[in-house]
Symmetry: C2
Subunit: 446 residues, 2 copies
């Protein structure tokens, strides 16, 4: 075996760059390894296993729950240099990529050949496909097209002791043995380090239409969402912004949205032009029935303009409060209005603004509790709101995370959603893969 190729970073500031993610938390690693092949990943893990060193796999660090934040003294295993698209197979509509490939880059390569990879997390220009697999990433198009899990056919991965495994099949179907592939998807880098991913892709839809609907009350917007889905139409996106969110965006970057409305839906339909036209009319009919004012993008330029407000949300919220508590709850679609009402009450009672947007079709709300970390008392109140909110989410039949995962930041809440027997199974599965507990310890389970 050739000599272990690990580049050392001795400068503290360089190391610090590998210690944080989008959660706002951070830790200082002892070392960063940038393997360039699966074999090198295996060597790094084997070495660490023998020396009982903690390993934290890391994509681009865009995670929201500190999944890639290392405990003090850990080795960061960065997938940055595992960034090749190894195969694009148009006959079987799948591709093999290394985990460090950027989601947006993969989408562009496919688009250039007339194909389409649906999962589109907001961070798609930065986040890696390996990170997407670890977190089972979604995005606005998940309503129609599902999440990362639905596109992963096969994984090559390295176990904590350095042994390589391959899971899943190259084919459309396969039922031989337990589904290790879907066990690894969403396991937040705690079971194995993924080194190759075979992803399904689709032919590019022929056309897209974008609609905007403004609602006078949140309840009406929620009812419209349910009615659209129940009618048999599956928009590719059905995004939601509440009044506070619209106000924040208009303050940051005025795009002419009416700020006196209570809710906005951004709806996108794709497919054959004649179908889109028909569906768009039905969707407009439903929204107008719920007293919404609607706008249709006449061309690509108008489409981009309609998306501007959606894309401005993150910087706009940052502008209001550089740090905030950001959660990604999900409730059954039909309970969306109730959940939003509960959030409004929590905001009113605490005096802390709560800004909501998200994927209404999925019942997935990005809740932003605008409590600045620097204001200790307010931040503590914000954290109390989180607990209250999760309680309500679970009462409504929801889940505390639709996209971000548990990581460190939600580990203390996992027991609210998952029972002791189920957590016991998960912990024991973790032990099957990682008996020494060296791979990304402390994540998911406290």
């Amino acid at each position: 075996m050739e000599k272990l190729k690990v580049e050392h970073s001795s400068e503290l500031e360089d190391l610090a760059c590998y210690g944080f993610d989008a959660s706002g938390l951070s830790g200082m690693p002892a070392l960063v390894a940038w393997p360039k092949s699966a074999d090198e990943v295996s060597q790094v893990l084997k070495y660490a296993y023998e020396k009982d060193m903690v390993i934290v796999p890391r994509g681009a660090g865009t995670g929201m729950t500190a999944g890639a934040v290392p405990p003090e003294g850990a080795v960061i295993l960065s997938t940055e240099k595992l960034n090749r698209i190894l195969e694009v197979d148009p006959d079987n509509l799948n591709a093999v990529v290394e985990p460090g490939v950027i989601n947006g880059e993969f989408q562009r390569v496919l688009a250039g050949r007339g194909y389409f990879y649906p999962p589109d997390p907001a961070s798609l220009e930065f986040c890696t496909l390996g990170g997407n697999v670890a977190e089972n990433a979604g995005g606005p198009r998940a309503l129609k097209y599902g999440v990362t899990r639905d596109y992963v056919m096969q994984l090559e991965a390295v176990l904590p002791d350095g042994r390589m495994i391959t899971t899943g099949v190259k084919t459309h179907k396969g039922v031989v043995g337990y589904d290790l592939t879907r066990l690894l998807v969403g396991s937040e880098g705690t079971l194995a380090v993924v080194t190759k991913i075979r992803l399904r892709f689709l032919p590019m839809p022929e056309d897209v239409t974008t609609l905007l609907a403004f609602f006078g009350d949140v309840e009406a917007a929620g009812r419209a969402v349910s009615e659209i889905i129940a009618s048999g139409i599956l928009p590719r996106t059905l995004e939601f912004m509440d009044r506070e969110c619209i106000k924040a965006v208009e303050k940051f970057k005025p795009t002419g949205l009416p700020t006196m409305i209570e809710a906005l839906l951004l709806i996108e339909l794709d497919g054959y032009p004649e179908v889109i036209r028909k569906e768009a009319e039905q969707v407009l009919g439903i929204c107008r029935n719920w007293r919404a004012k609607c706008e249709v993008a006449a061309d690509e330029e108008a489409r981009v303009r309609l998306w501007e407000s959606r894309r401005a949300i993150s910087p706009a919220l940052y502008n209001i409060s550089p740090t905030k508590i950001n959660e990604d709850i999900v409730v059954p679609r039909s309970r969306l209005a109730e959940m939003l009402a509960a959030l409004k009450r929590l905001s009113k009672d605490s005096g802390i603004p709560i800004v909501n947007f998200g994927h209404a079709g999925d019942g997935n709300i990005h809740v932003n509790i605008m409590a600045d970390k620097r204001d200790k008392e307010k931040f503590k109140m914000g954290q109390e709101i989180v607990g209250e909110m999760f309680k309500r989410v679970l009462e409504l039949g929801g889940t505390i995370s639709g996209e971000h995962g548990v990581g460190l930041t939600k580990a203390e809440y996992i027991g609210m959603e998952i029972g002791e027997a189920e957590l016991g199974l998960m912990r024991n599965i973790k032990k099957v893969f990682d008996p020494k507990g060296l791979l990304n310890p402390g994540k998911i389970f406290k």
Copy 2:
């Protein structure tokens, strides 16, 4: 806790009814339990756990790989009396069922309300939804709509020691903890006994069109399949029959199929009428380009007639040989023609007829090696063909089972497809759920 309600079956012939499945193998159970609630399932399992008794969960016994065949002296846990549809939620497009509900019955209940449950294994009039979950059942519509795994949102299940667990979420998305739901789907009743299933369903498509295409050579049929999919059209079914299969069907029940052709594709498109018309023209164009003769069903009656030959396959093959070796291999769609050529060679070399049909769009072929069990020598040759065939399947990047699972009949071959490290993980996962090895032992792993 109330007294354990288990009905005993003392008559041997009654017991024998619970000892076989569609694989042709059988075993004699010691006892059959028919629990009527999840709580009773838990009591049965707890009792068996304490007494170290082997339990084999059983749906309708339509499995093809002996997954429900008991080892001598086991207790059969039948889900027959857990047969209620507990909830149908049109707002969130999902339903909760008990495992003993018949697939076809569930489909009819939904159809009556304008909804649609895609997974449609050939045995749908008999097989249970619990069995479908255990085997991750597919069916002709899997090409467009996926398999059982893609519809299971949540499971309630009982662990071998009697503890109840709930996995998954009621929502469209959820990423909290490991994906126990998909670990249970396809685990062939070896990890836990499912007692409730929350299944996603869809609005009924507006219309369906059925086409039949006759090809002069298998290669051309294979190329047409790839081209249809690559064109962006996703038929809901794309079924295949080879010459031997067509001949068998015509002999059994003449429907006027031309028996001199080499392959037949039965193609079904669903969706909006205007889209189906457009897609049907494209599909016909592609097939004719590969020199196929085509037929379009003009109305519902003609549709039913076109399906008659497909539905007649099983009785027709039974007519030729009451016992046969039945496998369900899958290869990447683009390798279909190569696989069929390999099967032709195997048949020619051995002198044993091999009849093929299946889900061409998925690359999933049902291979019927017509070796009667009563002819010992021929049957042994047939089994040798299986090994050769699996070897070729794996060389082509395929899998040895797309729908039937491993059970007992493929357990000896699992090592050809799955490596030692991966099998080790699976065996240890089995131990996490079933440390005493009492639940359906000997299945999947030898």
